[in-house]
Amino acid sequence: MNPRRKLVCLTAGTCLFLITLVLITAALLLVGGALESGRDPSAAEGRIFGVVVLTLASCWLAWVLLSKLHENYLRATLRMAEEVDALISSGTRLGEYGSPELRVLGHAVNRLAAARDVLAGDVAERVREARASLEQERSRLAALMAELDRSVVVCNLDGRVLLYNQRAQQELCAGSENLGSELLGLGRSIYHLFDRSLIAHALERLQHKLNSDAERPSAQFVTATRSGKLLLAHMSPVLAAERIDQEDAPVSEITGFVLILDDITATNERDARRDALIQSLTEGGRGPLGSIRAAAETLSEFADISPEQRERFLGVIQDEARALSRHLEGAAKAFSDDLRVRWPLEEMLGADLVNAAVRRIGERSGLAVKVDTVDESIWLRIDSFGLLQALSFLTTRLHDEYHIREVRLALSLGGRLAQLDLMWFGTSMNNETAMAWELDSMTTGGEATPLSVREVIDRCNGEIWFQRERVSHRAFYRILLPAADSPKEVPRSIQLPRQGSRPEFYDFDLFQWSASAHELDDRPLSELAYTVFDTETTGLQPSEGDEIIQIGATRIVNRRLLHNECFDQLVDPQHMLSRESIGIHGITPDLLVGQPTIDTVLPAFHAFCADTVLLAHNAAFDMRFLQLKQQALGLNFDQPVLDTLLLSAALHPNQTSHRLEAIAERLGVSVIGRHTALGDAMVTGEIFLKMLPLLAGIGIHTLRQAREASQRTYHARLKY
């Protein structure tokens, strides 16, 4: 019963009660009057009138009182209840109304709410702090991983990649036939790269070692990559928190594994070359030496030998000695790089060495250092610390003993040797002094080392000498150093994650991921891995010979768009571009010269898409192009496909435009790089991520539901 009706009923009841009371009283009075038999009928009438008036007054009073009570106790209580409900979910407070008692209650509730808000604020603050520190740790981890000189890949037991560093990406993907494609990526299977049984076997060994209480269980295996590299992999387990089994023994459960990879191709080759060298020197020399020795011994043994025979034996000796020299010479030349002293040398850009030397000499000895010509292209393999020490030591002595105020540095290349000159003008210094300096142990600015300049240079497999030009009064130390090949491009620093986004080469949430456990159809959309892609084409009619000229794609894993794992490839359509299409995609024919054709690009893209749901805007268009090609190439793009156009139509059926820009604007996604395949793919991905919660709002949670909703939309019936 609603409050107002309650009030009316209550009032009506009270009034009825009063009226009844009055009627009974009046009846009794009338009966009493009748008994006294009309002594004074007017007096009786007057009394009745008074009673009626009194009754009406009481009824009115009852109404007033009851409505007051209703207002202050009943309605106020209900209102308060509503406000408390609101207060639970928002920061509002109860107002001042109702009876004094209710007001006291209201104040108490407000105090409670205030206390709760403080607590909630506290919790939120802690959560924020914790998240910030977690984020920081993650960034640190990411930076650390990127800096690591070795390849690291972390996988869960399904072989899904949870973390990898850039080094791993380079080492594992470089030179593979899949151009541009990232075989290594978050959530991807490591079995694309390594043989499943190899990993399983290593895991078995790990488990075995773990069970037998090995201190730090690890397993090793050597494997060749598709590009023919030899990798030595160290595998260590990722263990779950220890739990206690029935017999009270701690059990460590493997939840994943860490692979640390070393490229041993070069080491292996070097070792093999060394072996070959040793063998050729020992075994190759035996034959000729055998002949020489036999001839020599025969000559000395038998004095009575005839002149012709003597000639023959001498001929043998000369002949074999020459052969032996040639052999030695050849070996020395062929293996010269392997015969060097093995000291850990680092590869360094020559110009960097010169710059470092300028700084160091300036700091240590206070000399002015000028840089002469420096060949910027030279790479050196050196002990840079030792070399800088040597330069610093020499200049300090020049300064201290010969008062040289300025030196110059120059670096040039002659064949396979780099030539580093430390030059100065003025005071002549003799060769003996220069030699002595080379052999003295180095002390500069309090730093003493037992090493001499000569030893450092030897370590670098170089040579040093002192030279003077009398006419120009120029003197210099010339240091010859073997030049190195410019190293493979290894980025030393990582791209910092964009503001607010997490770095993208790890995702530990994938630990909970088990792809094989569920059918894709019933998996939540937010859990799936997607390849978001877009193509640029020569025109709109694939059936009439229009071709793909660009494929751009990125991935979504665990609701994150992976900016680091992209596929971006131009394709030579072997076909003229029309002027109109150039206007749209901006790809001119000259950009396509030398690009691979679809025959090589599509298989690579197929590999890139493995194990993901395909996602594109107006996917039907792109799929038509892919499907026309797939059969000829023996591929099958049979993954589930989602289309943001159809999903948008399902979400906002009353909107007229479902163009990418229109959707982006509706969902607040900023559009950059539109009409490059990768740019559009990125926008599509961001739109899709924004759509996920909206789709959930209309009951679309799983892949099946999304597909069914797409099919229902009007646009699904359109044919392109």
């Binding site: 075994e283 055998g290 025969t298």
Partner: protein, 122 residues
């Protein structure tokens, strides 16, 4: 009776010395320049001892040695293998295939002659 020795080696420069030495020691000396020739001469000439180089064209010393040992008529023939590789595995292989002795180049000519003599029981 003069003993007959077959020198099987394709290196002319060592053959010159070996030929000279063994003749001076009073042996009958035959020379073969490859494995097949060595096997043929061993069968036709029946030398008392073969100086067998391992690295030879057409047929290597191991194969020759094996073929010789497979022929019961040649059982009394002594085989002294010479090699330019000094690996243990090779020496063991040679002896395992039935060679009587093994010498690694470079060797002392005196020792070689002594070895030949002792193998022939002289």
């Amino acid at each position: 009776m003069t003993k007959k020795v077959l020198i099987a080696d394709d290196e002319q420069n060592i053959v010159i010395s070996l030929d000279f030495l063994l003749r001076r020691e009073g042996f009958d000396v035959l020379v073969a320049a490859d494995g097949e020739e060595a096997l043929a001469k061993a069968r036709s000439e029946r030398p008392d001892l073969v100086l067998l180089d391992v690295m030879m064209p057409k047929m290597n010393g191991f194969d020759v040695c094996q073929a010789l040992r497979a022929d019961p008529e040649l059982a009394s023939m002594r085989v002294l293998m010479l090699t330019a590789k000094g690996r243990d595995t090779e020496v063991t292989k040679g002896l395992g295939l039935g060679a009587d002795a093994y010498m690694t180049k470079p060797f002392s000519t005196k020792e070689l002659v002594a070895q030949v003599r002792s193998l022939l029981g002289m």
